[in-house]
Symmetry: C2
Subunit: 237 residues, 2 copies
């Protein structure tokens, strides 16, 4: 049976981290809410299940159901060779993924620091302050951390070394999103992160990911998702 | 060998979710940074390890090291009977824990919506807006979700039924923190959440938790942690 992914049909959003892992794994999946009648099915599944999700994305896999991105990836990673088999390796990839999730939340809140329920336009002054701090303080701290991991003890192809993991796919997605949202800032600091740049290109060139990115299954970035391009937030500091 | 927990020594913070699990498990652990010379050891361990952490807390367990609260709890839960043994059960507890983590982040950001690096006093107007939305919109959504889980298919003692899990301990901690930070709001809405109230009391009465809460190991809440009592944020809506 194909996996069923439940996520908002018009954005990459948090669902994209799951889509990338399913694509790299080369497994069959249905992006339910993008099918006819799919949104109604998703809303019903969110409430009615034995294991309800607070929010999409969630995944059904035969008799199993699970929500929360890092949790879904924990499952996919173990099943499809996108995480190590040993306990320390699994814990480490999960730790990296959760740190990426923290960065994702901060990237989102840079344009929505007050309330997700309000329009960006209703929190623009606050967003300017938060985005400035994000780009000056928080983002470099996160990027330094991941660049450091890629560099120790010597430069590696992926976060774990030679083998790709789902955390690499997620880090690729975050780097793509940041370049979309903050092109000026990223262009200015890119040179500080050669290993992250190489990782981004290496993931994009993987055959299944490359085919996915060129397909209609890959939605474009837009101003409804996590990474939004509002030029006035792309700090000039 | 005793577990070594590394976390800031003067706050409950995110480390408290780990402390509660270790206490309920009844295992020996050292709260490293609260020992003489411990802060220096923690800062060295954070940078120097094979598996560096972006931030505390992190845990050492014999040859294993791991960071990120939900990841540490995944490990402790499996080792010490605070999570089910089957795959669906483990994924479900992890999903619940990650949803609790989202609530924790939102509770923190209610007093720090602009930047963790700034004082509360430097983001007070923004905090008032964010806290109002948190208490009116987000908090009820989270509490409705967990109350619903406790009630389905019929009222349960714990999130999974009869057996306590680490997610119950974390939910207890969040409920305690919210009552500390927002006593007025919680008193007003308490009656809507009888099952959450019963869960909080049930966890507090567990012998090991009760002994811990009465000990000097339990730090008091204060205005340096996640849950802070600023009366002007305790909405009167």
């Amino acid at each position: 049976m194909a996996y069923e992914l439940f996520y908002w049909p018009t954005i990459q959003g948090r669902g994209e981290f799951v889509r990338l892992a399913l694509e790299e794994a080369g497994v069959d999946y249905v992006d339910v809410a993008r099918e006819p009648g799919g949104m109604a099915r998703m809303m019903a599944a969110m409430d009615g299940a034995d294991h309800p999700s607070f929010a999409p994305p969630f995944l059904k896999a035969d008799a199993l159901a699970m929500g929360q991105v890092a949790n879904i990836l924990l499952y996919i990673g173990q099943r499809h060779g996108l995480a190590p088999g040993d306990e320390q390796g699994r814990l480490w990839v999960n730790q990296l993924q959760l740190t990426i999730a923290d960065l994702v939340t901060e990237a989102h809140d840079s344009h929505h620091p007050i309330a997700s329920s309000l329009y960006y336009e209703d929190q623009r002054p606050e967003a300017k302050r938060r985005a400035a701090d994000f780009l000056e303080t928080r983002l470099p701290k996160f990027l330094d951390y991941f660049e450091g991991i890629l560099g120790r003890p010597e430069p590696k192809d992926y976060l774990l070394g030679d083998q790709v993991s789902y955390a690499d796919l997620s880090l690729f997605q975050v780097l793509e999103g940041l370049r979309y949202a903050f092109p000026g800032t990223l262009a200015r600091i890119d040179a500080n992160y050669p290993l992250l740049g190489a990782l981004r290109e290496r993931v994009a060139a993987r055959p299944r990911i490359k085919a996915y990115l060129a397909s209609a299954r890959r939605l474009p970035f837009n101003e409804e998702g996590i990474f939004r391009h509002y030029p006035e937030l792309d700090g000039q500091a």
